[in-house]
């Protein structure tokens, strides 16, 4: 992979760099012609979820393939049951497309489209997304050809070799800037019913970096498993954040990182395990690796972030009678940094954000009661963790809404660094009653679904935090006066005046 997008999910980008080899095995270059496009949704080839649609288009220039354009998108609807964490086999999660040619010389494979349309709930939207991906690949291909033509080049091999070499050099320099050694650690997640343990040993040896996750929990019978590629991509994202290569990230950057996890573990799950809730486990990996490498380079890592975000899928009937399948993202708080507070409510590690309340209400019969930062959810520390969010929404639909709840960190709040404290734990309730964070439920008309994400952890001793900053946090309601006394040791005499209006802190469904 020579060049990648600058937005989106770092893990998608990591998986893309590996998936292409499978496409080329299935369809060697000599079997491809201009305007062909290949597709797959096989999670062991792609990104560990049946919803991730991989799209590959060969780029022809002067009758030869000079590169491939590739894109990934997440389709909320791939048939099967609603996306959730409580499937037990991949077959429940929808239909899988092997690597197949969806477009032959620009012509759609109508048989395939008929099968796809028959197997999804909202064929127009699903096919529309495919077409959008085709459009993006086509534009990518056109631009690359224009570039080659403008420079009068038959191919781009020399350029690619140069880019590859420099990216490789940059990553080697980045890794070498971390003191050599083996750094070990582990973390526990909520799991489905039982906690899951993730272990890692990060070995830095000069310009090489290897991450071994042997000893992690075996794969789960529920859909919270990850494929090897997905786990690698999350680990690689973390390693790149710490190494900070001086070049844009591409396949060469990724290739410097070695990863191992025994087959049959939760980070290298085998067929036919269910995978729909992969992020509920894998998104602990970045925080784990930062904590582990923090012993070597404390100034280059951050405390744990309140990830995974809230990722529940939901489906029902929208305004105008149109059926919908969507995801209700809600981000948590970024972990504190050695020199500054964590950002409140930020897409991490997946760079995603929630849909505006006003847009959702225009589409669906829902009324939001709250979407606000959660006071005291940022972990205390010399630098404070970013705050999580609380969300509450009431249905006024005529029929039940199906919700595939996907949330973690109910029992395992974020872990601070260097005596920093944990952030607030996550919670999910219906009408104020806690519900299982990985269940599929029916939200009845009039019921209130409420979620709180996890706050980022703190960094450093909270009692060493600048008193002025503590007082400011209290005045702003990021930290309550009580927590300021308890966690930061702020004496009562210096407490600022009470917040002017109390109403905004009334949360309808906060308690678990």
């Amino acid at each position: 992979m020579i060049a990648q997008g600058r937005h989106g999910l770092p893990a998608f980008l990591g998986c893309m760099s590996l998936a292409l080899q499978d496409f080329l095995k299935a369809y060697p270059p000599e079997t491809l012609e201009p305007d062909d496009s290949l597709i797959t949704t096989d999670p062991w080839i792609g990104a560990s979820q049946i919803n991730d649609v991989f799209f590959v288009t060969p780029i022809f220039h002067r009758r030869r393939i000079i590169a491939y354009a590739m894109s990934v998108s997440h389709s909320p609807d791939v048939g099967g049951r609603l996306l959730s964490a409580d499937s037990k086999e991949i077959f429940e999660e929808g239909f899988r497309l092997p690597i197949v040619k969806l477009f032959r010389a620009g012509e759609p494979n109508e048989d395939l489209f008929r099968i796809i349309r028959l197997n999804v709930r909202i064929p127009d939207i699903v096919v529309g997304d495919f077409m959008a991906q085709l459009a993006s690949n086509t534009i990518m291909a056109r631009r690359v050809v224009e570039f080659a033509e403008a420079r009068g080049l038959d191919d781009l091999d020399d350029l690619f070799a140069e880019v590859w070499a420099r990216s490789d050099l940059a990553m080697r320099q980045g890794i070498a800037s971390i003191p050599s050694g083996t750094y070990r650690g582990q973390v526990e997640t909520d799991g489905f019913d039982q906690p899951i343990t993730l272990k890692c040993a990060v070995t830095v040896a000069g310009e090489d970096l290897a991450v071994d996750c042997a000893g992690s929990s075996p794969q789960d019978q529920h859909g919270i498993n990850c494929t090897w590629r997905w786990s690698f991509a999350e680990v690689a994202h973390a390693a790149i954040c710490v190494a900070r290569p001086a070049s844009p990230v591409n396949g060469a950057t990724l290739k410097r990182i070695r990863f191992s996890a025994p087959e049959g573990t939760v980070l290298n799950a085998t067929y036919p395990s269910a995978l729909g809730g992969r992020a509920l486990v894998s998104m602990y990996l970045q925080g784990l690796i930062f904590r582990v490498l923090g012993t070597a380079v404390p100034d280059r890592v951050i405390a744990e972030t309140g990830t995974p975000p809230h990722l529940s899928a939901y489906m029902g009937v929208g305004h105008g009678g149109r059926r919908y399948v969507d995801i209700m993202f809600l981000n948590g708080g970024l972990g504190a940094r050695p020199n500054r507070d964590g950002v409140s409510s930020l897409g991490w590690p997946a760079n995603i954000s929630s849909v505006p309340v006003e847009v959702t209400e225009n589409e669906k019969p829902l009324v939001f009661l709250e979407k606000e930062l959660a006071t005291d959810s940022g972990g205390a520390g010399r630098s404070r963790g970013g705050l999580a969010q609380s969300l509450a929404v009431r249905s006024y639909a005529d029929e039940p809404i199906t919700v595939g709840v996907r949330l973690d960190r109910i029992e395992h709040p974020t872990i601070g660094l260097d005596r920093g404290k944990s952030g607030g734990a996550a919670a999910v309730t219906v009408n104020g009653r806690p519900v299982h964070a990985k269940t599929t439920l029916r939200l009845l008309p009039g019921e209130v679904f409420a979620v709180r994400t996890a706050g980022g952890a703190g960094y450093g001793d909270p009692r060493k935090r600048d008193r002025e900053l503590v007082r400011r946090d209290v005045a702003d309601g990021y930290v309550s006066a009580e927590a300021a006394r308890r966690d930061y040791g702020l004496d009562g005499g210096a407490a600022p005046k009470a917040k002017p209006v109390a109403r905004s802190t009334k949360k309808p469904a906060r308690r678990r």
Binding site: P356, K371, G477, R503
Partner: protein
């Protein structure tokens, strides 16, 4: 006494004033230092200077139009009012959580701008409106009163109100405003339903808060300025440039100052639009390169590209996504960290990088001899012979060539292992490549092919870089207008009075209630006509209506013009086709399976574009070359003994062949070998690069000759060969080979 029009552009450093006589088009200009504490002082000084030049009195000015960076700077420097925000209870943090997206996937130390209102001053009140405008909970007036009382204790001067779905029904916001005004008649109040009644709580609240934040400052500044001019006897009608390239009446500018955020850059785009029409070249790439940044905007078919949102106060320079989002109609432009002061350095990978950091004006480039040691683009231009060390700013400042060469030798040439000239040329080419690449990506994002565009160069550094940038983009027509240093002030006078309105209404196209939509559009149009009438404009009014549309469930919209006349269901098919066309232009294909939906709707009501006539006075001088000096051109190893011309002596109709250097007090125009230069009736330098658009690496195929004529001939052959091989090439990268070699 002839009547005159006065244009004023207040920048961070200089205030430029241009006065144009009605009828004759005679133009006079002045450049004075901006007075940040009391901007009116500098404006008055500049206006008085131009009036004196023209022998006119204040009373002869019929209109004064000005652009200002005041609103932007107030936000960047956090000098606005102490502002509070009232929101729907439970939603006070939309301002802070913002887009929730990282602009860098791998930066753990990423930063975002602080919201303009701290959380302690963001208060929720009990109220609720539904998406369709139904008021579920009327606003609790006691709640509002309590909030206002609490805020008064904190010395709040401005209050923004942004309730959910107020774009669909503004009653709750208006009721809250009544309570606020009754209790705090002194406070400035901004309602989101007035400032930006569009869908999407973050964009609306961010814009409304910014409006409240700058309102007191802008209002008092405008009053001060108008009072000062009136005191001198001015009876001129007063207008302010908006971000969208139209001018606003004083009253609208006072109420909606957030519309002024891109006022200065909009004036630049406005003058480019004027020149596009005046030159008969409807497709123009406006290229404004100064000391720190380059700005690029596009005029297509006579109209500037427009945006519905912009970003200010970025915490990471030039990084989209790192600033405060404002949704307001604006001319679209990109800003690149490339200017005369941009610093060249060799990075950890052994690559030469130029910018975005800049030596600024102090200490400035090494050649300013003010203590700067970093090699800059200006230093490279001096070493290459483009600039005359004795005629910088018309000779007002002497440049030190030795210091420039030393800086480049130490920081660039030595680590790369090349000689000083090669290093200087690499700096020059890399900065040009940066700008050309940014322009190419920007054009590509809009589905625009730049070949066939005219590059219009203004700003101090642009004329020296324009020809090479054009070549990299496959553009063969370059124009350098006269008096480029004060052109933005001319742009103020070239813009029509206009008002932009919008409202949110999200529906599937097939479910739109056309009667309701037409009613709202008509109301806004009538409001616009009334505002124009207040400004004395009754005729030649144009109304443009459009809708932001997308495929159902998407999150990105394209703007689609609506047909004139009565809107109804019979037009749905046509509007849908127009959407497909717009989508196809952006994304290459349409998708007919998916339904189409509308999001925000827009109306722009404009008066006529002023019939501006310009006549720059000639100052005479020697018409032949006034000197020769050795100059290193891009793609050529040896220096050419190049003739240097005095721009003020080049009369309309004059022509000459490149290579040539043309100097004026504000800038130096580089005419490369093989190019042809002529001077048009507006004294604009017209540079034709035909026969030079060869896109192969010059050094390998086309260089190695010393006579410019044979070089040109070879280039033509080369070009013909390339044309046969590929009919769709764009851009050139002659530089790339040499730059890479240098690396």
């Amino acid at each position: 006494m002839p009547r005159v029009a006065i244009g004023v552009d207040i920048g961070g450093t200089f205030t430029d004033v241009v006065l144009i006589e009605d009828g004759t088009g005679r133009a006079y200009s002045a450049k004075v230092l901006t007075t940040p504490e009391h901007p009116a002082t500098a404006v008055l000084e500049g206006v008085n200077a131009t009036l004196a030049q023209a022998g006119a009195a204040h009373a002869s000015a019929r209109t004064i139009v000005h652009g200002t960076t005041l609103a932007t700077n107030a936000i960047i420097q956090r000098r606005g009012a102490r502002t509070a925000l009232l929101t729907t209870a439970g939603f006070r943090d939309a301002l802070e959580t913002a887009r929730e997206l990282r602009y860098d996937l791998y930066d753990l130390f990423i930063e975002f701008p602080e919201p303009l209102v701290p959380r302690r001053h963001r208060l929720g009140v009990k109220e609720r409106t539904r998406y369709d405008g139904e008021v579920l909970v009327p606003v609790d007036r006691r709640d509002v009163a309590r909030a206002v009382d609490a805020l008064a204790r904190d010395g709040i001067e401005a209050i923004a109100v942004c309730f959910l779905h107020s774009y669909a029904d503004a009653r709750n916001e208006q009721a809250a405003a009544e309570v606020i005004r009754a209790k705090r008649p002194d406070a400035s109040v901004s309602l989101s339903s007035d400032v930006l009644p569009e869908i999407g709580e973050y964009g609306r609240v961010s814009t409304t808060v910014a409006n409240a934040y700058v309102q007191p400052l802008v209002a008092s500044y405008l009053s001060e300025l108008v009072d000062a001019l009136r005191a001198q006897g001015s009876r001129a009608a007063f207008f302010v440039m908006s971000s969208s390239g139209g001018s606003l009446s004083l009253e609208v500018a006072r109420a909606l100052p957030v519309r002024l955020v891109e006022s200065g850059p909009a004036a630049g785009v406005s003058v480019a639009t004027y020149y596009a029409e005046r030159m008969g070249r409807p497709d123009v790439l406006a290229f404004d390169m100064g000391g720190t940044t380059a700005k690029i905007s596009l005029i297509t078919a006579g109209h500037p590209t427009r945006a519905t949102e912009l970003e200010v106060a970025r915490v990471k320079r030039f990084q989209k996504g790192s600033g405060l989002l404002l949704r307001a109609p604006a001319v679209d432009l990109i800003e690149i960290g490339a200017g005369g002061g941009s610093i060249g350095r060799v990075d950890a990978l052994g690559l030469l990088a130029v910018g975005p950091d800049s030596a600024g004006a102090d200490p400035g480039p090494a050649c300013y001899a003010r203590g700067g040691t970093a090699p800059t683009v200006t230093d490279a231009d001096l070493v290459l012979g483009y600039l005359d060390p004795g005629y910088f700013l018309g000779g007002a400042m002497r440049l030190d060539r030795e210091r420039a060469a030393t800086a480049i030798a130490t920081t660039v040439a030595a680590p790369l292992g090349v000689d000083v000239v090669r290093a200087a040329r690499s700096v020059h080419e890399v900065v040009n490549d940066n700008m050309a690449n940014a322009a190419a990506v920007y054009a590509a994002e809009q589905g625009i092919d730049l070949r066939g565009y005219t590059l219009l160069a203004f700003g101090g550094a642009a004329p020296a870089h324009a020809a090479d940038v054009a070549q990299r983009l496959g553009i063969s027509d370059v124009r350098v207008p006269f008096a480029a240093g004060v052109l933005s002030a001319v742009g103020c006078l070239a813009s029509p009075v206009s008002f932009d309105f919008s409202f949110g209404y999200m529906r599937e196209l097939k479910q739109v209630d056309w009667k309701a939509v037409a009613g709202r559009l008509d109301t806004l149009e009538a409001e616009g006509r009334q505002l124009l009438a207040q400004a004395g404009i009754e005729d030649e009014i144009t109304v443009a209506r459009s809708a932001d549309m997308r495929y159902f469930g998407q999150r990105y919209e394209v703007n689609v013009a609506l047909p004139a006349g009565e809107l109804g269901t019979d037009l749905v098919a046509g509007i849908q086709e127009a959407f497909y066309e717009a989508y196809r232009q952006h994304y290459g294909r349409e998708i007919r399976e998916v339904p189409v939906e509308t999001v925000n709707w827009r109306v722009t009501v404009s008066g006529p574009r002023p019939a501006l006539e310009l006549a720059w006075s000639s100052q005479g001088g020697q018409s032949g070359p006034r000197a020769h000096r050795p100059v290193f051109f891009v793609g050529r190893d040896a220096a050419i003994d190049c003739p240097v011309f005095d721009r003020y002596a080049l009369a309309p109709g004059a022509t000459l062949d490149g290579p040539a250097i043309v100097e004026d007090r504000e800038s130096t125009t580089v005419v490369p070998p093989g190019a042809r230069l002529s001077v048009d009736d507006l004294r604009t330098l017209v540079i034709r690069l035909e026969g030079r658009a060869c896109s192969t690496p010059r050094r390998s195929r086309c260089s190695g000759t010393s006579s410019s004529r044979s070089w040109t001939r070879r280039r033509r052959r080369c070009s013909a060969r390339r044309s046969r091989a590929s009919s769709r090439r764009r851009g050139t990268s002659a530089a790339r080979s040499s730059t890479r070699a240098a690396r």
